[in-house]
């Protein structure tokens, strides 16, 4: 008798959860459908490696975390881009955390009035002390954030003063037109200093360890969960006051390393958006009457180039560099490596008419001229190495193969060297690569900003060619702090003329920022940091 009771008890115990499971099945299916409408599902090749943009070694997707989960004092306005899609307007600064600001009479300082109702995600109020702590942190962390702040002449913690809980003062140490725009970049994010300080230690006064894995912001979205290497989930912060409340309530950003699978997911409608696909896929989607919408914009102040080490032979000889500039298979590169996604930077004119950057130089494929220049240079056949970043292999590999073929015809034999990600930065720093394929883009859309990083004799890491030219340095400095518009434009034109003549690096293409999405997604806005701004996106 005991046996049967036990058996029936076990049976009942078994049925229970199954029945419950079946019942919850229909309920959760309904919840799922509603979920899907309010959620944006994005797939990208890889995600953020930490939640702190100021952290050491933060990768590009972590800029996106800073942008969506943290506020800044200012932001940029918006305008319509050349393809009809909205883009940011680098000439217009708009309030975000700061509701208004007043420049000093002599222009050497600015006072910001902060929003009184702004809160961090944990409910605590945002004060000027938080702003000061965050900026001091950016300067103290070293590396990239410090350099970025410096680009706007924000170099000394003493420049930042707390006037009262909602008034913040920034002193300028020199007139730099980039100081204000620099306060709207992702690095200048505002951290919840009270929360962060709770997790600071003596050895780690800026809570770097804790902030790597935890978000302490007040932006429009909270990081609801983050599984490194898998996905990040944002949830809308309903008490966000620094702008109009975003329409999308939840965003799931998943890492899907296989580009073929990302394309398949998009085409089958299983994801809403992706912005890392090989250029060929974007070209396919953009051309046919496909069910996929593509937003494309040339990336501002950015270019793909062939860089040559000008400090050592053979590329210290300008004629050799010009020979290479005439030998490159530009059109083939544009067609086969970039699938025509970009703006050609070749076949223009070396005589500069407008102070815009990037602009097309006058070199085009002319093997006869290239061979002539090689002969004139007096340098015999060359054997050297062309290096590129494995991370950009989709474009760089076919490009390097084409370049290898072309240069062989003028007596330059190349071996190709694929350099993995971390080693790429180290290699750039070492400055010993004779020839390389690289890409650089500046956040702040000014030619002299680009030249300051890439051509100036201060030999910053982005001056991958180790180029030294004191005349050019003077032009760059003058352009940065030029007094009048006429003077400024003249100097910019001169700068460009010099680098066209000297070609320490040969610009190839201004790359395109492509994003592919379902047709019911609208509001995608191009931002200079190239990460998605989920606050503007609408899913109908």
């Amino acid at each position: 008798m005991f046996q049967t009771r036990r058996r029936s008890l076990l049976k009942a115990a078994g049925v229970g959860p199954i029945a419950a499971g079946l019942l919850s099945a229909s309920a959760s299916r309904e919840a799922l459908a509603q979920d899907k409408k309010d959620t944006l599902l994005v797939a990208n090749e890889f995600g953020a490696n930490m939640l702190d943009i100021q952290g050491v070694g933060a990768n590009r997707p972590s800029y996106g975390v800073a942008w969506n989960a943290y506020d800044r004092l200012l932001t940029y306005g918006r305008k319509k881009g050349p393809d009809g899609n909205p883009m940011y307007d680098f000439a217009k600064l708009e309030p975000e955390l700061a509701t208004s600001w007043k420049m000093d009479a002599d222009g050497m300082g600015v006072t910001f009035t902060l929003r009184k109702d702004a809160k961090f995600h944990d409910g605590s109020p945002v004060t000027a002390e938080d702003v000061r702590w965050s900026f001091e942190r950016a300067l103290a962390m070293g590396g990239f954030p410090t350099f970025q702040m410096k680009a706007g002449s924000l170099e000394d913690p003493a420049q930042f003063k707390v006037i009262d809980a909602h008034t913040f003062y920034v002193k300028f140490i020199r007139t730099d037109k980039l100081s204000m725009p620099d306060l709207a970049v992702p690095v200048a994010s505002i951290y919840n200093s009270v929360l962060a300080k709770k997790h600071a230690t003596e050895k780690d006064p800026w809570a770097a360890e804790w902030l790597k894995n935890n978000e302490a912001g007040g932006g429009a979205y909270k990081v609801a969960s983050w599984k490194p290497g898998q996905e990040i989930v944002y949830e809308r912060f309903d008490e966000w006051k620094s702008g109009p409340l975003p329409k999308i309530k939840r965003i799931i950003q998943r890492d899907v390393p296989s580009s073929g699978n990302r394309r398949a997911l998009l085409q089958r409608g299983d994801i809403d958006m992706t912005y890392s696909l090989p250029p060929k896929d974007f070209a396919d989607f953009a051309s046919e009457k496909s069910k996929i919408k593509v937003a494309s914009l040339p990336i501002e102040n950015a270019l793909f180039y062939v860089g040559m080490n000008t400090s050592k032979p053979p590329f210290n000889n300008v004629k050799v560099r010009q020979a290479v500039a005439y030998a490159l298979p530009y059109q083939a590169l544009f067609d086969s490596a970039f699938y025509q996604r970009g703006i050609k930077l070749f076949g223009g004119s070396n005589d500069v008419k407008a102070p815009t950057w990037p602009q097309a130089h006058g070199y085009k494929t002319d093997l006869a001229k290239a061979k002539l220049l090689m002969a004139e240079s007096g340098v015999g056949p060359i054997e050297t190495v062309l290096s590129f970043d494995l991370g950009s292999a989709t474009v760089c590999e076919p490009a390097s193969i084409l370049i290898q073929e072309a240069l062989a015809q003028i007596g330059i034999t190349l071996t190709l060297n694929k350099v993995p990600g971390a080693s790429w930065r180290a290699a750039l720093l070492k400055k010993d690569m004779p020839l390389m394929l690289n890409r650089f883009g500046g956040w702040l859309n000014y030619p002299e900003y680009f030249f300051f990083w890439c051509y100036h004799g201060q030999n910053a890491v982005f001056n991958t060619m180790s180029y030294q030219n004191p005349k050019l340095d003077k032009l760059i400095t003058n352009a940065r702090f030029a007094e009048s518009k006429v003077l400024y434009e003249g100097m910019v034109k001169d700068m460009i003329r010099v680098v066209n003549e000297e070609v320490p690096r040969i610009p190839l293409v201004q790359p395109m920022m492509d994003v592919a999405m379902q047709t019911n997604i609208s509001g995608y806005t191009y931002w200079f940091h190239l990460e998605p701004d989920y606050r503007q996106i609408v899913k109908s």
């Binding site: 499971g21 099945a25 590396g143 998943r254 899907v256 971390a422 080693s423 180290a426």
Partner: protein, 337 residues
């Protein structure tokens, strides 16, 4: 018997030290400069030297090895440079995902290959035998990533039968709270059938890809060993004594034939562990393989070290298990030793 088992376990220990040494040497030989990575994209040479000092990378190799072994002893597998996470945390989170794949593939492969091998052994050199050989060899003749992508293309993209290759679970569902870390088991333990079905569905394609690759060695070994046993004297006697064919097959022949197959399972497991790295990349599966692959490409040595060590340990444990299994099921081993 306990003594035999204990002896086997002790015998594996020097291996462990060797594995640790090899792992250390291998990962220190990786190209790339962690110090430059740490110093950031705009760091100067001095900054890089500072960081190198801090990371202890300018000490001699034996010194670094000693520090490494000490850290291992306290369970510290180092920190990933790219994610800043403790390696042991990541491994702990991701190991169940990889194990889920590998063990399921192993189980599926065994359940298909053994009956196939037995069938082929009963009708040697017939069309069944040849078909079986053709099919299994086809599976093992394609690179795993190709099989995976083909399966995705056919079953997801064209037919829509398989769920989206977006990882371990549909993004709109929350994973079950961890008891074992293996989603399918955990969802069953929680009684959530819907979740179980969703998790199981995501497993289909990756497990199939892995299984297809290891059918051949298992089937081949089963067939060979089965044929050898079926021609043995004791089977002839059993037949002559009038025992029914299925009884002979299962109770007498199969049990004896499985011994060499068990050894093959060890080798197959090694294949699966190795190939899981590729399958995880193709299907966005968040296991230890994809973790290590990302680290490898980034020259991030700590995760790679941890991963190689984990794999070697797993494999050693499995082989130990097989050895012990042998001691248990094969009476001859006990008698001869």
């Amino acid at each position: 018997m306990i003594g035999l088992i204990a002896r086997r376990v002790l015998g594996a220990l020097p291996n462990l030290l060797g594995i640790i040494a090899i792992t250390f040497l291998l990962t220190r030989a990786l190209p790339g400069d962690p110090a430059a990575f740490y110093a950031g994209p705009a760091g100067t040479q001095e900054a890089v030297e500072e960081v190198r000092e801090k990371l202890g990378l300018n000490r001699s190799l034996p010194e670094q090895f000693w520090i490494y072994v000490k850290d291992l002893g306290s369970g510290n597998l180092g920190q990933s440079l790219s994610t800043g996470q403790a390696v042991i945390q990541e491994l702990r989170m991701r190991l169940p995902a990889s194990l889920e794949l590998v063990f399921l593939a192993l189980a599926l492969a065994i359940s298909i290959a053994i009956p196939l091998g037995v069938m082929a052994a009963r009708h040697p050199n017939s069309w069944i035998d040849h078909l079986c050989r053709l099919v299994t060899t086809a599976g093992v003749s394609l690179p795993t990533f190709f099989t995976g992508l083909l399966l995705t293309y056919v079953f997801y993209f064209l037919l829509g039968w398989a769920p989206s290759p977006i990882g371990r679970l549909d993004p709109f569902l929350t994973p079950p709270s961890a008891i074992t870390g293996i989603y399918t088991i955990d969802s069953l333990l929680h009684g959530d059938i819907v979740l179980f079905r969703a998790c199981a569905a995501q497993l289909c394609l990756p497990v199939l890809t892995l299984t297809v690759f290891v059918l051949a060695p298992l089937a081949r070994m089963t067939r060979g060993s089965m044929m050898a046993v079926l021609s043995a004297d004791f089977v002839r006697t059993a037949r002559a004594s009038g025992l029914a064919s299925p009884t002979i097959l299962v109770r007498y022949a199969l049990r004896n034939a499985l011994l060499p197959v068990v050894t093959t399972v060890g080798m197959v497991f090694s294949f699966l562990l190795g190939m899981s790295v590729i399958v995880e990349k193709v299907f966005a599966w968040p296991g230890v393989g994809s973790f290590a692959l990302d680290a490898l490409v980034a020259s991030d040595y700590a995760p790679v070290q941890g991963f190689v060590l984990t794999m070697a340990l797993l494999y050693t444990l499995l082989n130990l298990g097989i050895d012990i299994l042998y001691v248990v099921i094969d009476p001859r081993v006990q008698l001869t030793k």
